[in-house]
Amino acid sequence: MTIAQDISLASSDKTAPVLRVENVSKRFGTFTVLQSCSISVSEGEIVTLLGSSGCGKTTLLRCIAGFWAPEEGMILIDGHNTVPVPVNRRPVGVVFQSYALFPHLTVEGNVAYGLRMRGVPRSEISRRVADALESVSLRGFENRYPSQLSGGQQQRVAIARVLVLEPRVLLLDEPFNALDAKLRGTMQIELRELIKRLGMTAIFVTHDQEEALTMSDRIAVMQGGRIEQVAPPDEIFDRPATAYVADFIGLSNFIPCKVRDGKVTLPDGQSVATKESDTVKVMIRPHNLRVTAQGTGPWQGQVRFQRNIGPLIEYIVTAGEAEIRVVAMRQDRTRPWSEGDAISLEVIDPEYCTIYPAV
């Protein structure tokens, strides 16, 4: 516990990052799960580790929590390396995917657990437990057992149970997986507001990009044990740093193009400046394309499939050998194109396209 106290005392410098992961690598046998991952998180920031299963996001979370030890690198909390600190002495609080509430203890027993283990005096325990339950609006539930609570309430107990210990970093492992789809949306907003209100520094793990876009101040997209890009949600979506990120987040069209004199010419004839050379892949978001009557431009194709998704219309267009996705707002005045129509495609804003080297 002394280490945890030392670490809390050292946190006076608000500008320094609370958590710094430096070149962390983790192997299981000969299999490398994390390859030299680095990320820093500042006070009160919510960062999401996003990636498909097996990308290493949960491994990184478990290394920060101390369940697993990385082979290389440092994990600094308030400037202290925590890699040698045993799991039960780290100033981090984990909210598990299953919540892992103790089924044999009441809500009060669950929230008081950490304080009891630390030998905090009885009167202080009841005061701090009451405060913690207050902050997650669960006063009056003290004597219930976890099995008597809804999924959302269980999640709030799991949060109260760690925040009562005032951890420096909150770690949340896919906390919405156990909830049904309808509840998820509202719980995401509520949880983000709660964490912000408490001023906690948090790391989230998820495979759900919508969840990441909702919850995060910054998103770290991971793939194959590496962090591909760390940036705010807008930037991740609009200026993905690599082709993988562009493909993973949202829908995207990749079109091979040639570079000539520092410029890429798009299939519709417009051009964009680039630093790449030779052959490149240009990523165009479906909503950055417009379908027009045939003959209006050089990029011609045929509507293969058309569907209405609420306020949007999605087209799949066959243009040469490529299949291009286009998404348009549904408006009364524009005639929706039908399957089999011959049309032309046009890029709405060439500057909004991103360009990657062709592999």
Binding site: M1, A65, G66, F67, V87, N88, R89, R90, V92, G93, V94, F96, Q97, S98, A100, L101, F102, P103, H104, Y113, G114, M117, R118, R161, V162, L165
Partner: protein, 271 residues
């Protein structure tokens, strides 16, 4: 519909057959105990069915016979010792088999099963000879140890199935909240294992109390357990006294089940 058609008739016959088989199985399970209980109240001095009259005499006689009371106390002592040994050895073994992070945990969990697969008589003879070879003579202690070896598997298997269904995140959560490994064991793992320990304890106690195949070789010759004494009694007498002794055992087993069911619920026993 006045006449059921062929398929409905077939369904009814099928359902009837299954219910009939179930009732027959239940009859086979329960009838012997009920017949023994009925005979134990017979007023005549020999075993015969149907009984005549009703008396508690034989039960009083059971407790008047010093040999039988001592045999009961011996069996009680063995039952308790076996249960305690199984808990003390079974909990760590199950923890290692399920949570162990090294090679050989599967081998160990199968190895624990082996003595239970061996016929009790073989195990009894083996323990008797092995003990003789190192100069230990049969006694209540040896009998307890031999039965413990025989039924440890039941305890370990019961605990293992509970542990396997326990969310490993619970123990990680305890550690994350500041509990040392020992505190985690005491405050999380052990309380959650308690129903399985109790359920296992019922079986090990009953086995310790009335096992005969192993006990017949390893019991102390002056400290005869109840099943051995009962066998001797059946061979020499033909009075409902034997039935009364069995009656006492049946009541004891029912009490053990009720105690556990009351403390952890019937579903806990089912596990």
């Amino acid at each position: 519909m006045k006449f059921p058609d062929r398929s409905a008739l077939g369904d009814m016959l099928g359902t009837g057959a299954i219910v009939g088989m179930g009732l027959f199985a239940l009859f086979l399970l329960v009838a012997p105990s009920i017949i023994v209980l009925i005979i134990s109240f017979d007023t005549r001095a020999f075993v015969s069915f149907p009984p005549q009259g009703f008396t508690f005499d034989w039960y009083l006689r059971v407790f008047e016979q010093r040999v039988l009371v001592e045999a009961m106390l011996n069996s009680l002592q063995v039952g308790i010792t076996v249960t305690l040994l199984c808990i003390i050895m079974g909990v760590p073994t199950a923890l290692v088999c399920v949570r162990g992070q090294f090679r050989g945990t599967t081998a160990l969990s199968i190895f624990v099963l082996v003595p239970h697969m061996v016929p009790g008589i073989v195990l009894g003879v083996a323990v008797l000879f092995a003990a003789a070879a190192i100069g230990i003579s049969p006694s209540i202690g040896l009998q307890s140890i031999s039965i413990t070896v025989f039924v440890l598997a039941v305890m370990v298997r019961t605990l293992m199935s509970r542990l396997q269904r326990m969310d490993p995140a619970l123990e990680e959560a305890a550690a994350n909240l500041g509990a040392s490994p020992f505190q985690t064991l005491r405050t999380v793992t052990f309380p959650l294992l308690m129903p399985a320990i109790l359920a296992g304890a019922v079986f090990t106690f009953i086995e310790g109390f009335d096992n005969i195949s192993v006990a017949i070789f390893t019991h102390g010759f002056r400290d005869r357990p109840l099943p051995v004494e009962l066998l001797a009694l059946v061979q020499t007498t033909n009075t409902p006294l034997v039935a009364a002794v069995s009656g006492v055992q049946i009541v004891l087993a029912i009490i053990a089940l009720i105690v556990v069911a009351a403390s952890i619920g019937l579903e806990g026993v089912n596990e």
